[in-house]
């Protein structure tokens, strides 16, 4: 029972993390390797807004989400726009932006900036308290994660399939030139996609981070999980992404239960490597299935 409940929470956490990245990379094919950094940055900003500027919680979250989407916009407008069509350069440049943000957060003493040291940074829970489900105690925050995750997945899949903007996001991933001929402004669409993706990363951060401490290292892990889920699930497939996060979430919980906490990361990375080796186009992906491998 324990495994079932916490495995589900874990899996939805993974899905939330991967959501923004799947929108940006999986759907519109812009690699935003600063995803993990934006996740951490939003957590840190919210923390500072609450504790240093003493804003109230919802306002702090709102402002940091807006900042996140502006950062996404800036990354695209000033850096990625010059590198469109060069996948390796896009990846290296956006990863470097991510490194700047993450390592910049560790700086201290410059201009009165306190920096990011030690494990003292925690966001408060939305609602305190816990409830008993199937004989396991779960606190409300975890239930909120599940609710938010499911709502966002359904919302995103409707957004990309039934709205004009969502369809144009998918269009520039499939064939940029054809999309442009049909009147899709590819740069503007990509910019919007980046900013929505960054805001989603921020949303995931404020939902998940109350469960633990905020550390810069999380940025790398978040990026890798998001990348793995996006690819394992299959590019452009929301249900694939959900499936992949459940696969990873449960394999992680099961391995902790069976072999101990030591093996958690080994099993996680091992699963990712194995699936990518066996089926690189993803479990449910239909886009560009034959182009990915020889």
């Amino acid at each position: 029972m324990d495994i079932l409940v916490y495995g589900t929470v874990n899996s939805v956490t993974f899905a939330l993390i991967a959501l923004g990245f799947t929108l940006v990379y999986g759907v519109s094919r812009i690699p935003n390797f600063a995803h993990g950094s934006i996740y951490v940055l939003v957590g840190f900003l919210t923390y500072s807004f609450i504790n240093d500027l003493t804003l109230n919680y919802p306002l702090a979250v709102f402002i940091s989400l807006i900042i996140a989407s502006i950062i996404g916009l800036i990354i695209y407008r000033f850096i990625l726009i010059r590198l469109r069509g060069l996948p390796a350069s896009e990846i290296i440049a956006s990863f470097a932006v991510g490194l700047i943000i993450l390592e910049g957060l560790r700086l201290q003493g410059i201009g009165g900036f306190k920096g990011f040291i030690g494990p003292f940074y925690m966001l408060p829970n939305f609602i305190e308290g816990k409830v008993c489900i199937l004989g396991v105690f779960v606190n409300y925050q975890r239930l909120i994660i599940i609710g938010a995750g499911l709502a966002m997945i359904v919302g995103m899949s409707i957004f990309t399939h039934y709205t004009k903007l969502g369809l144009s996001l998918r269009a520039i991933a499939q064939d940029e030139h054809a999309a442009m001929m049909l009147g899709v402004n590819s740069d503007r669409t990509a910019m919007i996609s980046m900013s929505i993706g960054s805001a989603l990363a921020g949303l995931a951060a404020v939902t998940i981070l109350p469960l633990g401490n905020i550390t810069p290292e999380m940025g790398y892990h978040v990026l890798i999980y998001a990348l793995a889920i996006c690819i394992i699930g299959g590019l452009g497939s929301w249900w694939g992404a959900v499936f992949a996060s459940f696969l990873l979430g449960f394999s992680m919980k099961l391995s902790t239960a069976l072999f101990g906490a030591m093996w958690e990361s080994v099993v996680l990375v091992g699963t990712i490597i194995f699936i990518l080796l066996v089926k690189p186009s993803g479990l449910l992906g239909k886009q560009k299935e034959f182009e990915e491998r020889v």
């Binding site: 793995a228 491998r293 020889v294």
Partner: protein
Amino acid sequence: MDRSIKVRTEGLYALSSWTEMLYLILPRALLIVGLLTLPLLLDMYWQRVLCAAGIYALLALGFDLLAEYVGLVCLGGAFFIGSGGYISGLLNAHLGWSALFCIPIATLGGAIFSTLVLIPALRLRGIYFAIISFMFPMFARYIIIALSIFGGTEGISALGTLPNVWTEIYLILVVVIIALFAIRRLVNEDIGLILRGIKDNDQAVKASGINITSYKIKAVFIASLLGSFGGAYLSHLYGWLGISLFAMDFSILPIAASVMGGMGTLAGPVLGAFALTPLSEALRGFGQLRVVIYCFILIGFIVYKPEGLLNYFQRKYHQFELWETV
């Protein structure tokens, strides 16, 4: 000097005098002589930095070979370093063989090991290969921590070191120079042609009846030879091995060096590594600001000068201008 000796065809020269010969030899000689005399001018600390720069240069060379000539963007340079370093260190610690004997064995062993591990991933291309190769060093780290083998998180210290500081420094420099010129030669042979063909259009190469996987394996083996030598050398340089041999630095710095030096020139990444490592060492006092500065350099190059420094200088060097005074 009249530089018209360069025929329009890339790399074909018509030499008719010693001056023109000198014009061609000068950059190459400058590199070799420069690298070999550099240690004589530096103090103890910077000599160590030069050794580290040599290791990064080897990795950058391997990265450039794989990325620009085979089309495999390998983000797992740390895996080569780690496998070479661990094999050499373990041989030294458990069997007590001397460092000079361990390093060649570990170079070969580490290269064979990492090639075997990477073989299943060679069917992938583009970002998929990049991610998988990025994950192998992490996986190795987690396994070593989980099983707590090979010294676990603490590693093994007090390994045998090389006889003296001059052996240390000239070993790596000579290897870098030999590797650089050997690979430059290699990519112009038939195998280099096939590898470039694989990068541009693997289906066409396959259709010509060439087994592309075997050529990819050869290329990966060569790149991992360089990396494993670096790793084996590193573990004896500091007399220590541990999971930081699989650290991300070994994967990222070579990429930055390649981008800065000029992808595809082979000499560029080497020079980039020799420029970036001392730079990051000089910035050590700034703490984390170092990584930030260094990412700004990376972004600056990739956005504003994507051809890299060496391509730029090469063009300027070969360019001839006739100024008429009117």
